[in-house]
Symmetry: C2
Subunit: 138 residues, 2 copies
């Protein structure tokens, strides 16, 4: 995370100002923004950037393993620069998504056990929990 340009180059991606802005923004937030929210933020720096560029760039970053695409709920996807497997808590009222790293469940370990038991070659594990956050319960 020290050098955004270097990280992109290591993955074989061309380094462009738009790409750097998108990836840097994701690394600096903990809010799990949607593509639209990322677009709004990056437009402050690049007023001419198109939504399409943001969207396709996020897909490129995901395929390069630099960001995680989250499918919480049924609406637009959220993005996370933390690619380690961890739990996501999603408030059904305000839509906010939070990380939960320590929860008594080691997802990597669960995946390892299941590989031996089921014969599946695991590639991704998603644990999403929905509910109402303390703030929304007044």
């Amino acid at each position: 995370m020290a050098n955004v340009a270097e990280t992109l180059r290591e993955k074989g991606l061309k380094v462009t100002p738009q790409r750097m802005a998108i990836y840097r923004m994701l690394c600096e937030t903990r809010a799990h923004p949607t593509a639209e929210a990322i677009w709004e933020k990056v437009k402050e720096e690049f007023p001419a950037i198109s939504f399409n560029t943001v969207y396709t760039t996020l897909g490129i970053l995901e395929r390069a393993g630099l960001v995680q695409r989250l499918h919480v709920g049924e609406k637009a996807a959220h993005y996370d620069a933390d690619t380690s497997p961890h739990i996501h808590l999603c408030c059904e009222r305000c839509g906010r998504v939070r990380d939960l790293h320590k929860a008594g469940v080691d997802l990597t370990e669960v995946a390892q056990n299941l590989r031996a038991k089921t014969g599946y070659e695991m590639s991704k594990i998603e644990l999403n929990i929905y509910g109402i956050c303390p703030e929304c319960r007044h």
Copy 2:
């Protein structure tokens, strides 16, 4: 499951032939079909049934707590008449979704622990694992 009509009536839903066919089909399969697949199957019995009716009926059954709507992958939702919280294994090649009830993780217990720890009022828990199934690995 003994009597589909009775189950619907208990939930305060009107009992119609289309509804019974949709719900019965879901109870009898273990394949986690999409709305489209359900439509194709039910059309054998009701050739005039519309996709929309299948789709909205599935939403009604979900809201009544009779079926579970699964968001595995990024494509169309899958449906499951088993509403207990359990793990879903999804093959990224053939798209098949399988249940996994015993996996060393008690999802209900995880949710209980998190409620105390985070203050969230949990309502739903989703654990999806993606990979390649043994069959698709040849």
